[in-house]
Symmetry: C2
Subunit: 172 residues, 2 copies
């Protein structure tokens, strides 16, 4: 039996403006690239939704990862994450933060620098210029911080460097 | 100018099984309801994607909040969050975790109890039975935990009780 699909029209609430235009040179995670700033331009009909966001230090940016597309169809369910390129180890996609997903929805923890009437300036860039934004949610410590030191699977076994890009990880 | 929409077909990777069937009696956040357990039944074509997830303690469950639907059209951009019902204070939707959003995508931090070949058993239920799951991502402390004590806007001004439901918050 073919599993169901949701046929949807998702409004694009805004667009990311950043300096990156190629996946291989775009840092892999917002939290690893706080030195860089970006902007979300909020589309006119959705600007009232920003009311109150300026009182938060962090937010979740949900984006539609329009690039890369897998040219040969759906993203593989087992794939080599950027951070395991040198070891060439494959993982299930739901155990990775890979942008090549069944549903390519990005989840970026951005630091809010300024919320204006029509834009959000943030620190922590892991998206390419032009990426469509589909939601913004405030970071709430009570909801979003697990207690203690949670096990983080294969990420616990590797060294992660600030500013890392896929291109750097491809080098031997 | 009308902003763009993304016309998409989102595969449903799985379905939430839980004890809740009405919004008003469903706890509002996973982190406030760790005592309750639920299950995600993963659809057959996507099960290989679970490989490695069992070594993580927490994961982000992205869901399509198929209920409630706003009967009169799109969700309002300013609305009274559940936790402000008694004060009747409105907030911009992007400053809330309300399920009534421009794009009703849920973000739940679930605690992983067991990952089998075809299902994920978790602690922390804030979804109704039958909710479609559109993504699972591992919780990675390095990416997902901001440093220090971030400001959390209006959430910092209120008392939040474990197990809270919208129905309880409606009572005077």
């Amino acid at each position: 039996m073919t599993p169901p699909e949701l046929a949807l029209r998702l409004p694009v609430i805004g667009v990311v403006r950043a300096s990156h235009h190629e996946l291989e040179t775009t840092p892999i995670q917002a939290g690893l690239n706080r030195a860089e700033h970006g902007t979300i331009e909020i589309a006119e009909p959705y600007r009232d939704g920003l009311d109150g966001l300026g009182s938060f230090d962090y937010a979740w940016l949900l984006s539609w990862l329009h690039r890369p597309r897998d040219p040969d169809g759906p993203a593989p369910l087992r794939q080599v994450p950027f951070l395991l390129r040198r070891r060439q180890r494959r993982m299930g996609v739901f155990a990775t933060r890979s942008p090549r997903r069944v549903n390519p929805i990005g989840l970026s923890l951005i630091q809010l620098l300024e919320v204006t009437s029509h834009a959000v300036v943030f620190a922590g860039v892991d998206l390419m210029d032009g990426t469509p934004v589909i939601d913004l949610k405030p970071y709430v410590t009570r909801f979003d911080r697990p207690p203690g030191k949670p096990r983080c699977g294969w990420y616990d076994e590797i060294t992660i460097t600030d500013g890392t890009t896929p291109g750097q990880l491809a080098q031997p």
